[in-house]
């Protein structure tokens, strides 16, 4: 498991702890017969921390962006696919001059 996943799990744990604290706070308000307007300050801080951690995990865990530029170094035109045995090169296309300069 890479770092993004661990950070995401941590963020979710912090969020659930904040939910539990809010439930307890509501129970306390019911005893004191007051209205619930917003969670207490420490819960809000915890929620902001949890949101920041989950946001960081959501941006790093699903994967990297791959370049779609055909000329970049990691997009090589010639690779070894699985069906390389089915490829033939002795067809009519060999009479055409190469029109593009592809990186091999």
């Amino acid at each position: 498991m890479n770092l993004g996943f661990v950070v995401g799990v941590f963020g979710v744990l912090i969020l659930s702890h904040a939910a539990y604290s809010t439930i307890q706070y509501r129970g306390l308000l019911k005893i004191m017969e007051e209205e619930f307007s917003r969670p207490p300050m420490n819960v809000i801080v915890e929620l902001i921390i949890g949101l920041a951690l989950c946001m960081w995990a959501a941006l790093t865990f699903p994967g990297k962006f791959l370049s779609i530029h055909p000329d970049s170094d990691e997009n090589r035109a010639v690779s070894l696919p699985d069906n390389s045995e089915f490829m033939i090169f002795n067809h009519r296309g060999r009479l055409f001059p190469p029109q593009i300069d592809m990186k091999f």
Partner: protein, 114 residues
């Protein structure tokens, strides 16, 4: 390794040719990020106890922050990874709204009503 797919006869210009497999991968990454953050935003809105329009405003705020984050991840140059800027900014906005509302009501019930 991505496979190159030619979209037009004119192969000297770079714009129509790109690797479609990598573009799909990038779109999948954005979709996953947005869905996960919609769920987290829903849980947050339920815990804080938003009612009505405030919750939807919160959702749009979180989605805007996500867009900024995705742009930062793409290095603020979208044409290296996507074919148009609108994709990275607005793709998956409304699909996440339903997940947001689902988890918003779920968390709200759990914390405030149960």
């Amino acid at each position: 390794m991505g496979s190159v797919e030619k979209r037009s006869k004119d192969v000297m210009s770079d714009i129509p040719t790109f690797s479609a497999e990598n573009l799909q991968n990038n779109l999948k990454v954005i979709q996953n990020s947005r869905t996960f953050l919609s769920i987290i935003a829903g849980v947050l809105a339920g815990i804080i106890g938003f009612n009505g329009l405030t919750g939807f405003v919160f959702y749009f705020v979180v989605m805007l922050i996500t867009s900024v984050g995705l742009m930062a991840k793409a290095g603020f140059s979208a044409d290296l990874y996507f074919d148009s800027l609108n994709r990275v900014l607005f793709d998956g906005f409304l699909g996440g709204l339903m997940s947001f509302v689902l988890f918003w009501t779920f968390a709200y019930d759990l914390v405030h009503i149960f």
